[in-house]
Amino acid sequence: MRLWEVLKERKGRIAAKWFEQVVATYPEETAKFLKSKRDPFSNPVGNTIKEGIEGIINSLLDKGEEVNTFLDRIIRIRAVQDFTPSEAVSFVFQLKDVVREELADMSDESWLTEEISLFDRRVDELALKAFDIFMGCRERLYEIKVDEMRNWTFRLLERANLLEEFERKKKNL
């Protein structure tokens, strides 16, 4: 597909613009920090978003299998930050804006009009995956709350012979 070739050529710029847009969903001061610190351990959020975005674009264009891994890394963070569910996954749709902006110089070409809808469909699939991951993260949070309560009182439960019961119920869930 012609569009894919164009996107591959321009993927560096697309990734940079997309990163800017995702980072802009954070407060201004924080956005500056997320963009400026390169060390992945001093700035895990900024670096995870950056690497995640590059990974998503690469797997989108090369049909890589790891797209879930990259999506997961970004969403796992946003799932515990100050975002509503729609806000947490909204960054996926921003890719459509970014790509259109990047291809503005060829917007009158007829092949683009046709091919872009295929691209949009890929982004929509990505958004659905993002939603699954988001839900998975939220469910995980509730599960670990339960696990934590059990761990704190492990010996008490064990003494009351409640632990086996607990494990059995957990397995059956």
Partner: protein, 547 residues
């Protein structure tokens, strides 16, 4: 063929959604929004009543009305004034910040939440602005221009919200050119909050329990004893050796105190089994106490006075039992308090002597003032002198990294001992990146009484920088065990790992010691302290049968 219709642009579809929500107003004018998952519940009145603290009433931190006394403002301002007079450091920290921003991006909460009010400089500024308004001439005259603001109910709530979004870990102070200790500012804010009875339930419950029964969980003596005996049952199954520890025994040489989390929770109990095995193997003349049954101190997260009250039992019990010195289990804030505060709270009783290891003869001179030694330095000394036999291959199924707890590392420079012990009992040890360990360690995100379950999102955000470094060694070296020497870490890090780095478990250093310790007369080990089969052993046995 008709030309395909242009699909609508995404911004046309999502026109009604605005995802850029940075407040338009100045931070001083933006009241705090209480977000579920980001704060702990307010304390129940009964806990306040039990320890005689002010303003017991039913309330919730999410309520509009916090049911404060009419003169609440006066109480807060007097509280600030008292502390400014009492602590020179506090007054200094209120005055000297030049807002250089060196601390801003060093806080794990800011890194994880992205909320500018979690920058240590701005978190401190929440109080400094009030300080300026009421305690400095410039602030009184010039108000906002001088960075001053009125104390209002919204401001008080904001102070509350962010005082419980700081774990007092002191990472920011490492980077502050003036050495401003933001933890101390948080400590002061929390003290002031407690003048109005606004502690969290998660902190106040343990405080009340500890005051009445000697430990955070409110365990009674027989429960403590039977739980330790249960661990001895497990040890017997694993090693074939029956351990008979003593309780409240007068005339023992050493009193051993550990956080009560080691008595009940996993993985704390495995750490505790490690202590029991080690002391038995050494033939150590020591005793447990069911009265001084808590090494931790949630009073420290309430006020210095409360910390002092709850720790009265430590020296009192040492005196009653007539021991020579005290050995402390693996804990973080307990250690900071014992090492830096305890001997200023209470004078050590006369029967306590300067600690000397009965096994190696080593004098722990740095502990001469408090008379208390941390179990990790005690064990490191044993290993250094070759006093215990170890088989590190029993930990070969583990690839271990070490999380420096904030209080033992930044609080007292405790870096080498735990690493030395781990390297002696494990064959596979990998460090996390340099800027995430030792004095620059990242907090677990749940310290200082934030390890509740209702603030889980806050904890996950705050623990992100730590988890991120663990993920690095997990992916790069296959690390599957995160060792530490802190009971709050043992309670909080498993949860953090489950969310961020599944596949990594958490243990105390003495669990690893217990695994590797070759005990006199023990049976062949087929299980680790978690009673999980030791890899390799079953295959070996099957192989033998075949032969």
């Amino acid at each position: 063929m008709a030309k395909a219709a242009k699909p609508p642009k995404p911004e046309e579809i999502t026109k009604s959604l605005d995802y850029k929500k940075t407040p338009e107003t100045h931070w001083m004018d933006t009241p705090v929004e209480f977000r579920p998952g980001m704060y702990c519940y307010g304390t129940r009145p009964k806990y306040l009543e039990e320890v005689g603290m002010p303003n017991p009433r039913e309330w919730s931190s999410a309520d509009e009305d916090w049911k404060l006394p009419e003169n609440w403002k006066e109480i807060v301002l007097e509280g600030i004034a008292d502390r400014l007079n009492k602590h020179r450091s506090f007054r200094l920290f209120m005055d000297i910040c030049v807002r250089c921003g060196a601390c801003a991006d060093k806080c794990h909460f800011y890194i994880g939440t992205g909320d500018p009010k979690n920058m240590p400089v701005l978190r401190a500024e929440l109080l400094r602005s009030v300080y300026r308004k009421y305690f400095t001439t410039g602030g009184k005259l010039l108000g906002r221009v001088a960075g001053a603001r009125e104390l209002t109910m919204d401001v008080f709530k904001e102070l509350w919200y962010y005082a419980y979004q700081c774990t007092e870990c002191r990472r920011c102070s490492v980077f502050c050119p003036y050495g401003i200790d933001t933890a101390e500012i948080t400590i002061m804010v929390r003290e002031i909050i407690n003048l109005l009875g606004c502690n969290t339930d998660w902190i106040m419950g343990p405080v009340a329990n500890c005051y009445r029964k000697g430990n955070h969980l409110g365990l009674e003596p027989h429960t403590i004893q039977s739980n330790i005996e249960m661990m001895c049952d497990d040890i017997e199954e694993i090693t074939g050796i029956r351990i008979e520890p003593t309780f409240n025994r007068k005339g023992a040489e050493i009193l051993f105190i550990t956080p009560s989390g080691d008595l009940f929770g996993v993985p704390g109990v495995y750490t505790c089994m490690g202590y029991l095995m080690l002391f038995h193997e050494l033939g150590l003349d020591y005793t447990w106490s069911t009265y001084a049954s808590e090494g931790g101190n949630f009073g420290f997260f309430t006020s210095l006075e409360m910390a002092k009250r709850l720790y009265y039992k430590v020296y009192a019990e040492a005196e009653r039992l007539g021991v020579k010195w005290i050995l402390g289990g693996e804990c973080g804030h307990m250690w900071r308090l014992w090492h830096q505060y305890l001997a200023t709270f209470w004078k050590p009783p006369d029967n306590l002597e300067d600690p000397v290891s009965p096994i190696t003869g080593t004098k722990f001179e740095h502990a001469n003032s408090s008379k208390i030694v941390h179990v990790v330095e005690f064990t490191a000394d044993l290993i250094r002198h070759g006093k215990i036999k170890l088989d590190p291959s029993r930990n070969d199924h583990l690839k271990v990294t070490f999380h420096d707890s904030c209080n033992t590392s930044r609080g007292m420079g405790f870096f080498e001992e735990p690493r030395y012990v781990i390297k002696s009992v494990c064959n596979h040890f990998y460090e996390m990146p340099e800027n995430t360990i030792r004095e620059k360690t990242f907090c677990c995100g749940s310290g200082s009484g934030l390890n509740s379950s209702e603030d889980m999102e806050l904890r996950m955000r705050g623990g992100l920088p730590r988890a991120n470094a663990v993920r690095y060694v997990h992916e790069r070296y296959g690390v599957n065990m995160l060792a530490n020497i802190c009971a709050i870490d043992r309670a909080a890090l498993p949860t953090l790992m489950q969310y961020w780095v599944p596949g990594v478990e958490v243990c105390g250093v003495h669990e690893l010691v217990g695994n590797a310790l070759v005990m006199t007369g023990e049976q062949k080990r087929t299980m680790d302290l978690r009673m999980e089969p030791l890899p390799g052993v079953e295959e070996e046995e099957e192989g033998e049968e075949e032969e």
